[in-house]
């Protein structure tokens, strides 16, 4: 059976103007295996999957299914070949039930009417067979992210898909949910489904995958058997050098309080409830305080209210002894607050501006960069060149590169350079490593720790458990808009943290430490 490949992508090359996104890549998926696809951002994982899904046509190379060459010209062809995909951002209709979402597009009908009874039976049978617990009548908007994901998986199974592609499936899950997903994936493989698992989390690959194909800068690096390899080897193949996983840092030496949040409440934009409910805590110099929690528990709203992007409905903000509750964004920025925003494309960058224009986004009005309203181009260029050099931001044409054309990691580095170079008293970093590869993550963590060590305060908001545990000095867990726990990362386990994040455990959080 060694040669029993269900999908073979042989010598795939895909060229875009000026860049080879895939350069002679080969990926062979065996029947019934879990095959991980590993690579840094921009390594060509998405392009490869888009080719398999019919969104792009390869410049050269061929795709074989069960040994026969196939041409996948559009996603419908992929569907016909029983290839299914769970996207990173689920494609579900919020106001439909689970069952309706599963049958959407292949609705069973009787005359002009829907015939849901048979569909329900089939869905429940599939659900039992693979251990995918769902409530078929619940609305998507009411169920957990984990159940939404199971709905997506059922969608593929309902369509008799044999090749299942999972695109970064664990990014939105709690540790408990991740464990369950791993079980489900193993189950699916046992039942003969073939799984392609796109990720950059090495732990998960080690746990669940049979084999792993590694891409680097569009090139095929190799395919390894997981049982014969180690995390270190995988990361070396992915990045091309050794990477340290643990964050090297001295114990924190907290000083005076920089930020005090008192009874902050922020209304939600999507529902009538409050997104942030009466939270109080403080952040001191020389420490990294991390707000942990599952996505959508009020962290974003909290940060927006803190930085001034949105208004809070009650509460107080004290920054270095001054009341900044009603200060504008610019005033807060001037007072010494830096903000690495959650969404670098929405808030962090003007993508159609050049790198140098983005580098001064928070400072262009300072006398250093303008005179009588005219921008001093030379000063801007010099400043930008210095940041590029110092923070190793790579781009095609240096300062005059349009930021849209840069890779995600370098865009993020540019934001970090800009925000840290402002020499802030408080650095608010929201998911600063989201979507980045291990090399860039390592770099960003070092910068955060360096900021802390120079006596500044850092407030980190993160969804990544490893990051929460490794980088922070103090963890605050946010659940449904409330702070439900203050934890010391050295004294708790990931599992325990997971219980707080899922709302299963809670303590009182002191307003001051």
């Amino acid at each position: 059976m060694a040669n029993d490949y269900i999908i073979e992508m042989l010598n795939i090359t895909k060229e875009f103007p000026g860049i080879k996104a895939n350069d002679n890549v080969t990926l062979q998926l065996r029947r019934g295996e879990i095959h991980a696809l590993l690579g840094e951002n921009g390594a060509g994982k998405s392009t490869l999957m888009s080719i398999l899904f019919g969104l792009y046509q390869p410049t050269s190379g061929m795709i074989k299914m069960n040994g026969q060459e196939v041409h996948i010209n559009n996603p419908n062809d992929a569907n016909d070949l029983n290839i299914g995909m769970v996207h990173q951002h689920f494609k579900l209709v919020e106001c439909f039930s689970v069952l309706d979402n599963i049958v959407l597009g292949v609705e069973p009908t009787k005359g002009l009417f829907l015939e849901k009874k048979g569909a329900r039976e089939r869905v429940m049978a599939l659900s039992d067979k693979y251990g995918l617990k769902v409530d078929p009548d619940a609305l998507i908007s009411d169920i957990t992210v984990g159940m939404q994901q199971r709905t997506e998986i059922l969608k593929m199974l309902y369509r008799d898909n044999d090749v299942l592609i999972f695109d970064e499936p664990t990014a939105v899950l709690t540790p408990q949910e991740i464990e369950e997903l791993m079980k489900i994936m193993k189950n699916l493989a046992k039942e003969g489904k073939s799984i392609l698992f796109i990720t950059h989390k090495l732990n998960e690959i080690m746990e669940v995958a049979d084999r792993c194909t590694i891409l680097r800068k569009g090139k095929y690096i190799g395919t390894v058997d997981i049982k014969d390899t180690t995390k270190e080897e995988l990361s070396r193949m992915m990045v091309g050098r050794d990477v340290s996983f643990s964050v090297d840092k001295k114990p924190a030496q907290p000083g005076e309080t920089v930020l005090k949040v008192e009874h902050m409440t922020v209304p939600s934009k999507v529902h009538s409830n409050n997104a942030v409910k009466d939270i109080s805590f403080n952040v001191r110099r020389g420490e990294i305080v991390c707000i942990a929690g599952i996505d959508g528990n009020g962290q974003s709203e909290f940060v927006q209210a803190l930085t001034g992007l949105e208004k809070m409905s009650s509460g107080k903000l004290i920054f270095e002894g001054k009341d900044i509750t009603n200060a504008t964004i610019r005033e807060k920025s001037k007072a010494g607050m830096s903000h690495i925003p959650e969404d670098r494309h929405k808030h962090g960058l003007v993508l159609d501006y050049t790198l140098e224009q983005n580098m001064v986004l928070q400072r262009y009005w300072e006398p250093e960069f303008q005179k009588a309203g005219f921008i001093k181009n030379k000063a801007v260029r010099a400043y930008s060149d210095r940041l590029i050099e110092q923070y190793d931001v790579r781009s095609g044409q240096g300062s005059s590169t349009v930021v849209r054309s840069m890779s995600g990691g370098n865009q993020q580095k540019a934001i970090i350079a800009r925000e840290i170079d402002k020499d802030p008293e408080l650095l608010v970093a929201v998911q600063p490593t989201r979507g980045l590869d291990v090399g860039a993550i390592e770099y960003i963590h070092k910068q955060l720790v360096a900021q802390r060590d120079s006596g500044k305060a850092v407030l980190l908001v993160s969804l990544e458990l490893d990051e929460v545990m490794d980088v922070s000095d103090r963890i605050l867990v946010m659940y449904e808009g409330e702070l439900v726990g203050q934890l010391d990362p050295k004294q708790i386990t990931v599992e325990e943290l997971g219980l707080y994040m899922a709302g299963a455990k809670r303590d009182e959080v002191p307003a001051e430490v």
Partner: protein
Amino acid sequence: MNEKGKDVLLSIGASLVCIVIGLVVGLLILCCINGENAVDGFSRILQGGFYLKPKGIGSEITQAAPLIMTGLSVAFAFKTGLFNIGAAGQYTVGIFGALYSAIILGLPWYLCLLVAMICGAVWGAVPGIFKAYFNVNEVITSIMFNWIGLYLVNELLYTGFGGAMYDQKTTRTYKLSAKAPQALIPDAGLNSIFKTSSTTIAIFIAIIIAIIMYIILNKTMFGYELKACGFNKDAAKYAGINEKRNIILSMTIAGALAGIGAGLYFLSGASEWNPQVATALPAIGFNGIPVALLAMSNPIGVVFAAIFVAHISVGGAYLPTKYFQPEIADLIVAVIIYLCAFVMLFKGVVINLLKKKHADKEGK
């Protein structure tokens, strides 16, 4: 050549390709209407003002000045991410401002121009305020303001002020040369060069304003903020830029530019307003949109695009009425102008095409 220079060349190339496509379609339509005389008619359109030298050139220049201004008005708003479809209304209100201050107040031309500018600015600011504070789409409000402006101006010019601005004999507003010569923009001898009566220094004023707009957009902090708002409103807010203020300011400036356009045209004595017949908004206002598109919102490009549009329009007027109804001229010109603008919407396709060719050449 550096990347930026290449991009500029590509943009200009794309604009030229679009113009050619527009012209070809115009020629095809002429052929359909009257095949025999199509080529003759088409060559007259192509020659524009040069068909009837020097008078034609003079009127081309007169037409180009207000077009530059309305083109700038639309282009400036575009840069801030706003679609100022209200340039026609702002222009119309600007006409009233110019004529009122000229005929009733008897102000000199530069002050009349200022009043026209203020009137246009007010008419642009209102949709801006609605957009900034109530999030009402500026397209909807400015279209409504177009019509409110038009009928308001008609009413005021016809019966307002005891009809003091309305000449019963011509059924138009009084000719400025007769009633308010102090309000005429100086011609600096241009009228005698071109043997016309309304070729003034307006064109130079328009070009200078275009250069000022270019400097504001590209060299100043204000332009940096405006463009940041246009490209990414959220990032602008994140950077502490007051995006509400910028939306209002941008629409106000756009309105002011259209208002100046009205002043430049009417204070040159190029036309009088007929409040009883004018039930359509002035075409110069709307033609600002294709001009801005054709120029890819670049203020310097607007100057050239406006001259091109004026050139074609004037040429259209010389179509032989023996074979072509006078309306046909308008039709052809409109087809050419709007097709150019529409094709510009696909400029990405055109630019890719040009890039590919370029790459092929380099490959060989």
